[in-house]
């Protein structure tokens, strides 16, 4: 065989075994010498099943026959076969190998080539890579949550609402209403019971809001004691009044904090798209103004 080709085969980073038609070894490359500790001289001319006993099975005899007669290529995975060639150091844990069996024809002589790939470390590497990717994805998800959700109440925040409003406005065909809700008497709660209790009240109100919210509705906290409710596909005066009544209903039951019954109410303003504004800021500003008008009446 041409020396150059042999030199190339010996440089490869995987095992190459060449068999003649009688399945005797004709070539055993350097990678295999290092891997198994068996020199080429030792194995040359011997039947493959003597040197690699794990290939002494009916299934591999069938694959060899199919390769020689029909030029069929067979891939055998470590997942389903574990390994084929024994490693030099038997004390190490069993290797994992993929093999590829294929036919080679040189002039009128047929050979079988078996390529051996050690994939012992691949699985672990990919597993580690997957773990790393998963933690990166989890981190970006938590970052996204941090950007779009209020840390105290876990409700969507101002940025979430503004983004959603802009998207709905871009769609144009969609109608929606925006309610601006300001809690009355919240400052007094903070002053009387302390900020921790005030925060607790906001969290309890947020829980009630979450239960109330349905599909195509967003309840969000803008900051302090200001909240908004965004309702898609709804702008009629009648429906707006019904929603206001529902929000008041949310506050009907007192909040019980450290055995104190705290009752608060809300002032609500509303803006509808597109009649009350065509930008997110215009709509927020109209709803805010309407809320102040309500508050002034109280």
């Amino acid at each position: 065989m041409n020396d150059l080709y042999i030199a190339i085969v010996n440089q490869l980073d995987n095992g190459i075994i060449l068999l003649d038609e009688k399945l005797n070894i004709q070539l055993w490359n350097k990678w295999l010498v290092k891997y198994t500790g068996k020199s080429e001289e030792e194995v040359k001319g011997l039947p493959i099943t003597t040197v690699v006993p794990r290939l002494d099975k009916k299934i591999y005899a069938y694959m060899f026959e199919k390769a020689l007669l029909d030029e069929q290529k067979s891939f055998c995975s470590a997942a389903m076969h574990q390994y084929f060639v024994e490693r030099k150091c038997a004390k190490m844990k069993p290797p994992r190998q993929n093999i590829l069996i294929q036919h080679i024809q040189v002039e009128h002589t047929s050979y079988l080539m078996i390529e051996v790939y050690d994939v012992s470390n691949h699985f672990k590497r990919i597993q580690n890579l997957n773990k790393h990717i998963k933690s990166s994805v989890d981190f970006s998800k938590s970052l996204e949550h941090f950007v779009y959700y209020d840390s105290l109440t876990n409700l969507p925040n101002r940025k979430f609402v503004l983004d959603r409003l802009e998207r709905l406005i871009e769609e144009e065909a969609k109608l929606f209403s925006l309610f601006f809700i300001d809690l009355n008497g919240f400052k007094a709660v903070n002053d009387q019971y302390g900020h921790l209790q005030g925060d607790l009240l906001l969290q309890m109100f947020a829980e009630r809001c979450k239960h109330f919210t349905q599909k195509q509705e967003v309840f969000a906290r803008l900051g302090g004691d200001e909240f908004v409710l965004l309702v898609e596909h709804m702008t009629t005066a009648n429906a707006v009044e019904q929603y206001k009544a529902k929000i008041h209903e949310l506050l009907r039951e007192p909040f019980i904090i450290e055995e104190h019954q705290i009752v608060i109410s809300a002032s609500i303003g509303c803006a509808c798209f597109p009649q009350d504004g065509t930008t997110a800021r215009q709509l927020l500003s109209v709803a805010d103004y309407q809320m102040y008008l309500q508050k002034a009446k109280k």
């Binding site: 199919k66 997942a79 389903m80």
Partner: protein
């Protein structure tokens, strides 16, 4: 295709995959049954029609495909596809591992790809070998390539090279009393499909005589 032609092809492909099932059973040391319960010849444009209720969600979803090109005179491309969500189930069944719903995350490792590549290799080898014998010619083909296609990508790849005929084979895997469905799509050139049907007609005539 007439019903008789379809029946003959279905029987032939059942024999081909039967041989693959024997090999897989031997490798995995467990009984594996493979069958082709349904076969259809369609134009590529018909693949997306509403009639293909089972096929549509599969070819438009995330799939793992093992693909190969074959032949010179009798030529085409064969794709063996599995819905991505069934891959973990299939590998667990093949490797005798316990499958739990938590494992259903759509992240695959080399092992999953290799199992699919080997199963694809065995089944497509049997089918190509069988078709080669049927056509009385040696079909040239390589070890299939495994590719993970995101939703919709597989259909785009399949239809990117203009219209042609596709032989659609549903392949049912029966392992440890569990069933997994894979689909083989063999895309033929027009001459090749005519050649295949002529061969089927010859068999039909032989059966009649």
């Amino acid at each position: 295709m007439t019903t008789t032609q379809e029946d003959i092809l279905k029987e032939l492909y059942n024999v081909f995959v039967g041989e693959a099932a024997n090999l897989l059973s031997e490798i995995l040391q467990k009984r594996i049954f493979l069958s082709v319960p349904e076969i259809k010849l369609l134009g590529l444009h018909e693949l997306k029609s509403g009639e293909q209720e089972v096929l549509n969600p599969v070819i438009n979803g995330t799939v793992l495909s093992t693909s190969l090109r074959f032949g010179n005179v009798f030529s085409g491309r064969a794709d063996f596809i599995f819905p991505a969500e069934q891959i973990k189930y299939l590998t667990a069944l093949c490797l005798g591992e316990e499958y739990t719903e938590e494992n259903e995350e759509l992240s695959f490792n080399d092992e999953d790809f290799d199992v699919v590549k080997e199963i694809g290799n065995i089944i497509l080898n049997s089918i190509m070998g069988g078709m080669g014998s049927l056509m009385e010619m040696k079909l040239e083909y390589d070890v299939p390539q495994v590719i993970l296609h995101n939703a919709g990508e597989f259909y785009k790849t399949l239809t990117s090279s203009g219209d042609s005929n596709v032989l659609l084979l549903y392949v049912s895997f029966d392992i440890d009393n569990s069933k997994v469905l894979g689909i083989i799509l063999i895309k033929f050139s027009l001459e090749s499909i005519e050649f295949l049907i002529r061969k089927v007609d010859e068999i039909s005539r032989d059966l009649d005589e």
